[in-house]
Symmetry: D3
Amino acid sequence: MPYVTVKMLEGRTEEQKRALVKEVTEAVSRTVNAPPENVTVFIEEMSKNHYGVAGVRFSDK
Amino acid sequence: MPYVTVKMLEGRTEEQKRALVKEVTEAVSRTVNAPPENVTVFIEEMSKNHYGVAGVRFSDK
Amino acid sequence: MPYVTVKMLEGRTEEQKRALVKEVTEAVSRTVNAPPENVTVFIEEMSKNHYGVAGVRFSDK
Amino acid sequence: MPYVTVKMLEGRTEEQKRALVKEVTEAVSRTVNAPPENVTVFIEEMSKNHYGVAGVRFSDK
Amino acid sequence: MPYVTVKMLEGRTEEQKRALVKEVTEAVSRTVNAPPENVTVFIEEMSKNHYGVAGVRFSDK
Amino acid sequence: MPYVTVKMLEGRTEEQKRALVKEVTEAVSRTVNAPPENVTVFIEEMSKNHYGVAGVRFSDK
């Protein structure tokens, strides 16, 4: 605890994902006073045809 | 806001998914009085071996 | 199947939520060709202090 | 109802997933007094580069 | 890992929830070969006005 | 995009939650190169009787 899920469009590099997990863990740990080893991060990627705002998918723009 | 997630078995066409995002956005916008540009829709697909009812996966039927 | 989750700020009336469930079910059923009795809708409400965009919670605006 | 989601690292066999859905359904049905045909199970797999604890992804260990 | 979420209507007793967490953990541990101390269970309760099937909320039946 | 959900035990102060949303947004924005105004954060709190590890709820320890 805490458990963090980051949902974003696919396409980030491994280097970006590695930094994301590291820095989000630090931000959570620091602000809610939880030891870093208790922080779990999940990345969920979505494709452009499965994500829409205002009724239009990103793959259709 | 609002954020809508539709979880369903894989296999729908792009045309069906496009209509789904459009019409769900309209239904949400109309009923809860939110501007369409504030409505986000995510589609999550699952495969038949990752979905079960009554203890049996759809891939095992 | 499908399973739809609508996440939104608390404060909608029962009448709005009733219409939301009805019309989202119809939109999903129509567009992905699923019988309405197979469509499930979940509403998840969030409070303004648990929701932020651009780093600022809605309760802090 | 109930709806159960099991999120785990990819790599389990079909036989393990089949048993998982069956036995989790039985455990839920028995303990909360719901008929098995009302229990739905979803499996969500994650890859090692999308899952981290203590700021480090499993793919980086 | 694994992480299990059980979503159900509110109203179960503490005794039922305690048994649910225990027996679901055992079922998951046994079937996917994970040590019980690695299994996490979350319970999410929903109210009858936030849950509908076939376009009708359970609170409206 | 991205959408971040932080799930944790209830009991944090408003000050902690405010800082959490701010600093997680900065960490995500910086590492995946997304403008802060595109980052959304949701906080989900759970109670000790709805969260268990190794088959035992935190409320039962």
